[in-house]
Structures are given as C-alpha cells and as structure tokens.
C-alpha cells in the first residue's frame, strides 16, 4: 500500500451531502463527532468545502433537485475519494422508492463504495462501516 493511501486512510476528511433525507441520518453523522463517539480519534474531520473532502457521506433519497447537483459535486471532489451511502434512503431509497420526486437511486448517479443500512444507522454502525471501508480499501491494495 502506498504511503498516500495509508495517509488517506488515517485521515479521512468527510463531507456530508444530504440529497433529500429526513435529517435523522444527518444528525447521527453529526453525532459521530460528539464526545461519545468522537471520530476525530480516527483522524476523521467533518469539512465544510467539498474540495477538502476524502469521503463523501451521502444521505437521503436523491430527489430531482439533488440528482444533477450530485453529479456536479462528485466532479468537484478531489480524487481519490470514497463514497459512503448512509441509511436506507441512500442505499435503496427505502420508503421513498416510488416517490415522484426521487427518480433514481444513488448508485445509478455516482459510484458508491460502501452502504451503511439502517434508518437511521446508529453512529456505531456508521463508524463500523467506515472502518470496514478503510479495511477494505487498505486490504485490497
């Protein structure tokens, strides 16, 4: 594994992208930052600008407004970057599958690296998911 990748895995900065979610997933993401879970332990930081991001945490069911913007935004992340679909919504649109305003599932828009199911997934699950992702990326190299 190259040094670059190693460093990437040790300091993944996450950017949170909500595409029409119910807030719950988003709140739980923020929760990960807070004292009980404190993802800064793993070097993760929540960043404000997508250009600083290494990991995109996508939540929500990709409504029509988001679809185009998602594509644009995905362009704007510096590669290498990983995409994590958080919650059932992002994974499969869950309950919103038939909504007139949620035309396409997330993975038809941008490539997704890992899915963390749950509605909302518990913070523990998110951390576990991201750690798994890291292991996977690290291991597969």
């Amino acid at each position: 594994m190259s040094l670059k990748l190693k460093a990437l895995l040790k300091s993944p900065w996450v950017f949170h992208l909500s595409t029409g979610s119910c807030n719950n997933c988003d709140i739980e993401i923020l929760d990960c930052l807070t004292p009980r879970f404190d993802i800064e332990r793993f070097g993760m930081l929540l960043v404000g600008s997508i250009k600083h991001a290494d990991v995109l945490l996508v939540t929500g069911s990709c409504n029509r407004m988001s679809v185009e913007r998602l594509k644009v935004l995905y362009e704007q992340v510096p590669k290498p970057c990983l995409v994590v679909a958080i919650g059932t919504c992002a994974g499969s649109r869950g309950i919103f599958k038939d909504s007139y305003n949620c035309p396409v599932p997330l993975d038809k828009i941008i490539p997704v690296d890992v899915y963390i199911p749950g509605c909302p997934p518990k913070p523990e699950a998110m951390i576990a998911g991201v750690v798994k992702l890291i292991e996977k990326v690290g291991g597969s190299k």
Binding site: S2, L3, K4, L5, A7, L8, K10, S11, T34, P35, D38, E40, R41, G43, V47, G48, S49, K51, H52, D54, Q76, P78, K79, P80
Partner: protein, 303 residues
Amino acid sequence: MTFVYLLVFGFAATAVLGLITSWIDRKVTARVQYRVGPPFLQPFIDIVKLLGKETLIPAGASKGTFLIAPVIGISGVIAVATLLWVNQFFSEGFMGDWIVTIYLLAIPSLSIILGGFASRNPLASLGASREMKLVIAYELPFILAALVPVINAHSIRLSVIIDSQAGGVFAGSLSGILALIVAILCVQAKLALVPFDIPEAETEIVGGALIEYSGPGLAIFRLMKNMLFFTLPFFLIILFFGGLRLNGINILWTVLEYVGIVAIITVIRNTNPRVRIDQAVRFFWGPMTLIAIVAVVLALKGL
C-alpha cells in the same frame, strides 16, 4: 551558511514544532470538549494525505495566482521563522529586523487573500475580504504592542531585544504584561482562531478563502498555518520573554512560557463564539488599541 539555518530551522524545525503545536491545540480542544482527540501524528498524516490528493483548479479562475498563492505564503513564514531562529541562536539579525518581521508576518495573510481572490468563488472572496479587514483591524494594536519591547530595549534589532532581557523579561513589567495580553489576542486573530476565525467561518462561508483549495495547495496552506502557530508564539517569546533560553532550569521556563501561550490561545478559542467582523474591528481598534497605547505610554515612562 544562511541556507543551512534556513533549511534546518526555518523550515524543518518550524514545521515539526508547528505541527506538534497544532496537535496540542487539537488535543486540548478535544479534552475540553470531553473528547479523546486525534492521535499524535495526525497533523503530519493530514499533510501527507493532502499531498497525495488531486489538485483542483476552479474553472475560470486565475490559474497562476491560484497556484502560487500558497507558495508565497509559506515562503513568508519560512523567512520569518528563519529570521527568528537566526536571532535566537546567532544574534546575527540585522538592524531593523523587527520591522521586517512584522512585515513578513503579513505575507501569510496576504497569500490567503490572494488565493481566495483567485478562486473565483464568491464565498472565497468574502472570506478573503474579511481576512483583509481583520488584518487592518489587528495590525494597529499589534504594532503598538510589539513596540513596547522596542521602547524598552531602545532598539529595533531583535537580538538586542533578546539580550536586553537577560536581566529580566519584559513580560515582568506592567507595560510588558499589557502589551503581551494585546499581542496574544492579535496572534489569535492572526492565526484565525475562534473568536476571530471570521475569514474561515466554516459555518458561514464554508472555509472562506481556502474553500477552493485541495490537495497540495491546501497542504501548503495548512502547513503554513501550523508553522505560524509555532512562529507567532515564538515571536512573542522573543519580544516579551527574551527568547528561548536553553540553558539549565531555564529550559523548563521556556517550555512553560511556550505551552502557556499556546494554552491561552487554545482556551480562548474554546470558550468563545465567533464574533462578527465589525465587532472584531471595533474590538481591536477600541479596547485593544487603548490598552496597547497605555502600554506604550507606560513603556515610554519606563514602567
């Protein structure tokens, strides 16, 4: 010879110390917030990681300025740091290097501003303009505060300032204390830390001037900020504590002074909300300038 100092101290040592300082800052912050905080090497890893990432250039922006801005910034810091180190260990500064230091310290802000402006992003422009306003705000009290040691030492030569504190540090006098307080707050603003993180205000303007930077560019900026995080307290120590005294028990004092300044900065940043830019300007031009003027007058009176 200069080059050796330059590379060894100006860059490498400053960078390492700066990164460690930034780790201390993050760790203390985390502890204050009941968190564990990042592992020790985290700032280093961040930089390495950023270096490995792609450089993105905003469409329609001025490519050259955008890319060169971080370099300008870091060269400014390296120059300051070298100057300080040279004065610290070799008493080899030149006349008036105090002025040069103050001017060079403006270069990092300048680079951020240029970079922000070159990003062609409204938010970056806004952030850069705020940085600019902040610079003019804190520059006044900062110059005044930095003048106090000059008045005390009757010289604008840093090595003289260091030497004349052999008997007793300036921070021990009334004017010194006042000036130190002002200077620390100005440093807070120079480092763009809460409550003066207005130019970067993540939750208002999304990282402000740095919004468009990614990869190496961002790495350089972060490195620059971390180096400043070491350089500025170092400057204060030179001005008010007679520099690093690396002999005997004084080592302990020096470390205490340094950690003390960093700790004050960190604590301030964790116990305050961000102020508005106009409040910041008012704060620096009002009470801070007043205190600084009092300090200067006291210093002129020899207190």
